[in-house]
């Protein structure tokens, strides 16, 4: 049913970004995508564009589309995690295909790790109780915050931002403690704090891994960027330079994905224990004092 764009005053055609419409089409069925994009287009043309101007109207449109994507059926935590894990596996496979010399015994350990994360994402992300829903929600929030802080901090260190980079990275290490304390105190169970740490660890690990790999490929293919590794042997080939940088970030990303996840669980359990003990110490004798797993 879609027709050509209309002219709104003068020769200007008011049209939002086409890629945003395409994105909307990926998360809704064809009929819903047509009616929803029509509603957005109508609002964009009749009130948003005249009020806000082109750039802010485009930003509004993109924000609305992102809102649709996040609320779309089937785009729950489970599918985001599975999609993230699949993207990680594809990235590793692609890197090994490009640089077979990176292949080693670590691949078997990593495969086991991915199977475990995949099992957790596929089978334990449907909340059976309101407490489960709280745990998953807190885990997702702290995971996104922690992963983003880590990425921004490490990039900051590479770009010589100095103390700010260090601060952000340190903060990302403290977040699992806070996540565990938040979950533990909110549900008054140590186990809740540990589980918040587990989900937060997977999510932040995925964000960091994918961010690292994107950065690694940038370093490999745009020589001279700050933070790039230089091969020791001189002279070295372009492939050796690329392999060193991709391999370096691949290693860093995997460490963050798996050791980071374990650190997050341990940190959150400690955080949950400390949080519960602290809150309990301030309570009167009539209130519950028993520590629950």
């Amino acid at each position: 049913m879609a027709a050509e764009g209309i002219h709104m005053g003068g020769d200007e055609v008011r049209r939002p970004p086409r890629w945003a419409d395409a994105l909307l089409g990926t998360c809704l069925n064809a009929q819903e995508a047509e009616t929803s994009s029509g509603d957005l287009l109508e609002a964009y043309r009749d009130s948003i564009y005249p009020l806000k101007g082109r750039w802010r109207a485009d930003f509004w449109y993109v924000r609305q589309v992102v809102g649709y994507v996040l609320r779309a059926k089937g785009m729950g935590l489970r599918n985001w995690l599975l999609a993230g894990l699949a993207l990680c596996v594809l990235t590793i496979a692609f890197s090994l295909f490009l640089y077979p010399a990176l292949f080693d015994s670590w691949v078997a350990f990593v495969a086991v790790g991915f199977l475990f994360y995949g099992y957790a994402a596929a089978c334990h992300t449907f909340p059976a109780t309101p407490e489960d829903a709280v745990i998953l929600r807190l885990g997702a929030r702290y995971g996104i915050a922690s992963g983003t802080l880590w990425i921004v901090g490490v990039l900051g260190l590479n770009l010589r931002l100095g103390v700010w980079g260090v601060f952000l990275v340190l903060l990302s290490y403290v977040l699992p403690l806070m996540a565990g304390a938040h979950g533990g105190v909110r549900l008054w169970r140590l186990r809740a704090g540990m589980l918040v740490g587990f989900w937060s660890g997977i999510i932040s690990g995925l964000i960091v891994f994918l961010g690292f790999m994107a950065f690694g490929y940038l370093l490999a293919f745009i020589p001279g960027l700050p933070g790039a590794e230089i091969p020791q042997n001189h002279p070295y080939t372009a492939v050796e330079y690329q392999q060193l940088n991709v391999g370096d970030t691949l290693g860093g990303g995997l460490v963050q994905l798996f050791y980071g996840g374990a650190f997050s669980v341990i940190g959150a359990t400690l955080g949950g224990l400390m949080g519960i003990l602290l809150v309990r110490s301030g309570r009167s004798p009539e209130e519950p004092r028993r520590l629950v797993w």
Partner: protein, 114 residues
């Protein structure tokens, strides 16, 4: 008693009631924004309409688009008898909660607890 409605669901259903034959996505969004006096995401309206339709509180049908939306189809919504019942129940529940209390509440009812 019909299924309980949330505040946002009530806002969307009441917008459909008010708009009558003009109740489609864009119109409902504008009406809800005006009544709630805040910005509302189009995705939130869409998800709520979908949920209300699944619960059987509204029905929808497709209709032709207009030039301003490049001819893209519009989906019009209409409230069903069970939707009317759910709205009436929601209103009655709020009235019961407020029964015997003079509105608006005054600050003088606040008594410090010791």
């Amino acid at each position: 008693m019909a299924e309980t409605l949330g505040t946002f669901e009530q806002a969307v259903l009441l917008a459909i009631v008010r708009l009558r034959d003009d109740a489609y996505g864009r119109g409902i969004m504008r009406e809800v924004q005006e009544r709630l006096e805040r910005d509302v995401a189009a995705g939130a309206i869409h998800a709520t309409l979908e949920r209300l339709e699944e619960k059987g509180f509204i029905r929808s049908k497709l209709s032709m688009g207009t030039p301003i939306r490049d001819g893209r189809a519009r989906r019009f919504y209409r409230i069903t008898p069970s939707g009317v019942e759910a709205l009436n129940d929601a209103r009655a529940a709020v009235q019961n909660l407020w029964q015997g209390i003079r509105w608006p509440l005054k600050g003088s009812i606040w008594v410090e607890m010791k």
